[in-house]
């Protein structure tokens, strides 16, 4: 842990490309819209009445926003999937998945750090392996969300219905999966926001502003990995 009273030299390192930041914020905003409208579509908490003066098209409008946000979401996921393979070295899956000994050790280290078992923070240029693994799982969930969503939006388009029947069996099953997975995104939003803020206290790398600027701060003595 970095002591408060000790003077530390930081150096600024550029990590996140403009494409990744674009992905991050379009993904975040579309998730927010999708979750809010999706919860309404699932079980409308407020409804309208026949006697109302002018038409509201409440459900139709919110569904429209849901679908519009869904396209942004799918585009963002497509960008991230591209970057998993062709992004800079910190954006590639090889950097942050537990696929080698060093990364597995880092995963263990982050877990201990988050469980207050150690104060030793591992300074990494890119994602920590724990974060990276969770992000990767979320991308997979996002793909399933996109496929179930497309199936529910265009059940009569030949190739989509073929894909839907092959993967999910029926529309009801797709709807069920779509609903169950939306909880994953709610968990993720809660935990992601919390950990981003928590990290800013524990290990001041300026990762929150880094999500805008693309660069973070590492102590000057930390070697480039």
């Amino acid at each position: 842990m970095v002591k408060k009273d000790k003077e530390i030299l930081y150096r600024r390192v550029f990590v996140w490309s403009w494409a990744l930041r674009l992905f991050h914020w379009s993904f975040a905003l579309s998730c927010a819209v999708l979750l809010l409208t999706g919860i309404y579509i699932h079980s409308p908490p407020f409804t309208t009445k026949w006697a109302e003066f002018k038409p509201q098209y409440l459900m139709a409008t919110l569904r429209y926003y849901h679908f519009a946000a869904a396209y942004v979401f799918m585009a963002a996921v497509a960008v991230r999937l591209y970057l998993l393979f062709f992004g800079n070295r910190y954006e590639r899956f090889t950097d942050f998945l537990p696929i080698n000994r060093r990364n597995i050790r880092s995963l263990w280290q982050s877990l201990k750090f988050y469980l207050y078992l150690t104060d030793e923070h591992e300074w990494r240029m890119g994602h920590t392996v724990l974060a990276g693994t969770i992000y990767f799982l979320l991308f997979m969930a996002a793909i399933v969300m996109s496929l179930t969503g497309l199936y529910m939006l265009y059940p009569d388009v030949s190739w989509i219905s073929k894909m839907g029947v092959a993967l999910f069996g029926s529309l009801q099953m797709a709807r069920f999966i779509h609903y169950i997975l939306h909880w994953c995104f709610i968990f993720f939003v809660i935990v992601h926001l919390y950990i981003a803020i928590w990290n800013d206290f524990k290990a001041p790398e300026a990762i929150i502003s880094g999500a805008f600027s693309g660069s973070k701060f590492l102590p000057a003595e930390v070697e480039e990995d």
């Binding site: 079980s43 509201q56 207050y116 009569d156 029926s170 009801q172 709807r175 709610i186």
Partner: protein, 362 residues
Amino acid sequence: MARIPPIRMGLSRRDFLKICTIATATMGLPVEMVDKVAAAVKSSERPPVIWLHFMECTGCTESLLRSSHPPLARLILELISLEYHETLMAGAGEQAEEALKEALKKYKGRYICVVEGAVSTKDGGIYCQIGGRPAIEILRTVGEKAGAVIAIGTCASFGGIQAAAPNPTGAVKVSQVLSRPVINIPGCPPNPYNFLSTVLYTLTFGHPPELDDLSRPKFAYGRRIHDQCPRRPHFDEGRFVESFGDPAHQQGYCLYKVGCKGPVTYSNCPVQRFCDVGAWPIGSGHPCIGCTEPSFWDRMSPFYEHLPKIYIPAGGGIRVEAEKAGRVAVGAAAAVVAAHATIGAAKKVLKSISGKEKDQEE
């Protein structure tokens, strides 16, 4: 229009043309085709049909016969030459078995095999036997030599209630037993017009109608109930029935919140309706239960809720409402986050206290 004389069994010409017109409309064909369909009914050789009953409730046959409005059943029975049908045939026992054997020999490769009900496969299929033979064996003998196989009803098409969990008899759908294409006419019960129109289509054009990915005729199961529902404007407006009998229900609002499965169910119910009296579930204020979809007993139930329950295979198996499970899990996540933050803060406070003590000692 060519003059068509009344056909046998007291079916009037008016009824005959009426049914042909409805069936033609069901197939999605223009009114000019009514003559051709009617001509096909009259001129074609009546196709022999062997109708098998397996694990089912005979509801499909009952809805087909519909004794209160008989013309349709009359036409169907006129149209086909029913060689074997346990509910309708006069013969019984040995006599009936003999009729089946004879029909198999006489019409080999030409007859239509209509199956009603699911087929038991567990323990050699002994849970459904007719004349001492397991249903699966009968289906194999009759089905493989048929000219065409039609599965009528959800049990035959997708397994139905017999194949619902825990499925003690190992019930399966017809297409899982036979290694040949099967036309599915699902529904619990299916609309008899969908069956009639499928047969008429085949007679008129000489080939079966276009099928969807679940082998259902597209003319009948090509569109979602939700997309043709007369209550759809209420859905788009956000006007919903909250509970049965409330003012919203009396006003005829959308049944989405009381578990209507219209958005995930393919059928022509809103257009075709039932029993020639224009009745159908949503029209009567009851949500669609999705009976034309695969494994609807497992996935469409609870019928008055949106989604099936989550099955957790712990202990004897627990069923939880998806919504409740999600809320509990999110609540737990929030609690964990709060606890985590508290521990962190507490640790910091403790450390600063002990740090001060150290400073004082020094």
